[in-house]
Amino acid sequence: MARPSLDLMQGTVDVLILRTLAWQPMHGYGISRFVRERSKGALDIESAALYQALHRLERRKLVRSSWGISETNRRARFYELTAAGRKQLAAEREQLRSYMHALQLVLDPI
């Protein structure tokens, strides 16, 4: 029974990454920090899951990576959204929104 929740988690991580990169190209550490700050510490992506998700997304051509210089003057791998990634984000956002709406209907009946 662990699988469905894992899938959900994975899907959520993916969409969080895509949403973050829609803002601007970022390296992995930047992404996790951004998510943490934006969610006011409520969402914390495990680094292992984050990097696996990034490479998976790159393989699916939703993001692409290149090496650049970080704010601390170090070589870092930056990820940016591709056109396909942008499309995917819109679709998943819609899906997630209707999912949350459905959840809300069940959990908080008016």
Binding site: H27, G28, Y29, E46, S47, A48, A49, Y51, Q52, L54, H55, R56, E58, R59, R64, S66, W67, S70, T72, R74, R75, A76, R77
Partner: protein, 752 residues
Amino acid sequence: MSRHPRRRFFQLPWRSAERIRAEIDEELEFELDMRTAELVRSGLPGAEARARARREFGDIEQTRRYCAESDIAAQRSEGRSEWVAELGQDVRLAWRGMRRTPGFALVVLTTLALGIGANTAVFSVLRRVVIKPLAYANPEQLVRIYGATTRNPHAGNLLTPAQVEDLRESPVFAQIAPFGYYSSYTYVSDKRAEMWQSVTVSPEFFPTLGVRALLGRTIDARDVTDAPAPAVVLSYTLWQRSFGGDSSTVGRDVLLDGHARTVIGIMPRSFVFPESDRDPEVFTPLDARAAFRDPVAARQRRSFRALARVAIGVGPTELHAALEMLSQREQASHPELGEGSIIVAVPLHDDMVGGVRPILLVVMGAALLVLLIACVNVAGLFLSRAIARRRELAVRAALGAGRGRLVRQLLTESAMAGIAGGAIGVALAFAAKHLLVVGATILLPTMGDVSIDVGVLTFAFVLSAFCVIAFGIVPALVGTHFRLQGSLGESTRTTGSRSSSNLGRALVVAQVALALVLLISAGLLGRTQLSLERTGIGFDTRSDVLTFNVAPSSPRYADEARRLELFDELKEGIGELPPVRSVAMVTVAPWNGYTTGGADSLFANGLAAGSSDFDVASQVTVSDDYFATLGIPIRSGREFTSLDRDNAPPVAVVSESVARRFWPGRNPIGQRIRLGRRNAPQMEIVGVAADVRDRPGGELKPTVSRPARRQRHRLPDPRSPRHPRRPRRSAPRGVMQPPLLPLSPSSPRERG
């Protein structure tokens, strides 16, 4: 250029797996460092912060593995799709290039198509005739058995019935299948007469070959029991031609030579008669035992053909030894047979196609040589094209295309040319199939069923691939070997570098050399053909000789005297036609199985004691004027006249080889010979004629000619020569009266 030029800038260059792993390590290290720094800033001591960062990270090793696998797989599929995209791009480029220069494309495609087409066509015949096994059960076990003499072991003569019986007792054979006489029947129905070529076969014949009837059954022991049932088996083609493939033909009675015979079976279409220059249409039972009614004749008269299935596990040496032993035993127990009579076995496949194999291999070699020339030619064309396009290629190189990429583009062009040329070539071969069948029929009448199948197509494909490599690779390598600056700076009137012009010269040299080899071979072949035509055939090929068959076998001509009368009438009637200079009759005409038919034992009389007086010779019965009509030179003595007929003393004309064999350096005129048996009537030699070969370059065989004589039993024999695929119905009107006499004019054999 890539179809998506933008992508090139973002795309990472190809990375090794090691490099990919190193980059992942660096990426993860960066994460850990940043996290550690963050924790340190929040007040944790360095070492503890580091440990905590690691803990928080999760499974680092698994992540490392996962990311590396993902990246490597991504790179691989990226490479593949890019390769496909580039291939599509190259194909489009090549197509545009070809369309821009239709002359170039036309020359290249025509050259390749002709080369590949010729090879495919020749190979399809080669495959059918030489490579494919015979269409019998376990054909490798089948052998053809011949009688021969130690002096001429390849004579390919008939066997005596007694020899066949001896063979039956030998343990090296699993089955012995005698078959016998070729003949013909006149089939009459609805006032129409047809001539059917026939052969007698023993009940063992079809089972030995392992072939079954398509309908009904083949000839078996029932058909040769005491009262021979009048049974016949028909070939598929005859069944189609004369009965329209009607399945009720089996069981029907047909009138052959005025006698009713029952059709008991139809052979399948695929059945090929095992003697390749014959194509009999009717199979009748051969009763081998009937030949033993005269035991002396059974030992001396050569009347049977035979093939055999060798017992399992018997090799060629054992077979040879067994036959040698058999021959020696026969010599010892029947010294009267004559010295040097042997029995030889030839693998059936060799026997059927052996004569054609070298011809086909030579033709195949020539075709390959032509293809090689074609390849060199096309290579030259591609090279000059690549040189002319140097500027274009240099521009592409300057824009970032690697040399490998350019070579690939040029190779794509040649591969396309190769594929297109191959396709057109195969189409040509298909179109020429009819010609091939005709060609194959001339070589082997019963082997005409040449098909273009998967094997042949594979051959064509491999050949095309070979061509692509042969003509594509060198121009591609040379064409892309340049210095950027120089090439870009060149004017449009580009000249080749030294290495490419050297290569061009080398190609020209190769082409001329190959063409020379081909020319010389063709010249040699032509000369051989000419000399074969000019000499050694034995009769005058310059006169226009027409031959045709007459088979007066209906009841009307059952009487010998009536038959001879008919021949006289024919001879006279035809001789009166204005353009006819002379007319003659012969039992088997040259080039129609002349020397393979009716070979029999020949004994010479009155030779010095101790010298061998036995040989095997072909025998033909001829009319007056035979030698003059065919233009066979009489070396000494005379040819037959009307005085030699009827009750005159028996005479013979022998070929030079007979004279040389028994009376070397002496005049054989006046000597006496016997045919078939030692106690046969003697014949006096009245003339020596030139040797006649059955086909150009064919085996030279001793021949004895005898005049048609009224009192003998063996008349001008209606046993007729073969007639490959020719309508047999039309009788020239106004030549002769008998309405039921089928005349079949054979090919106007002009010049022979």
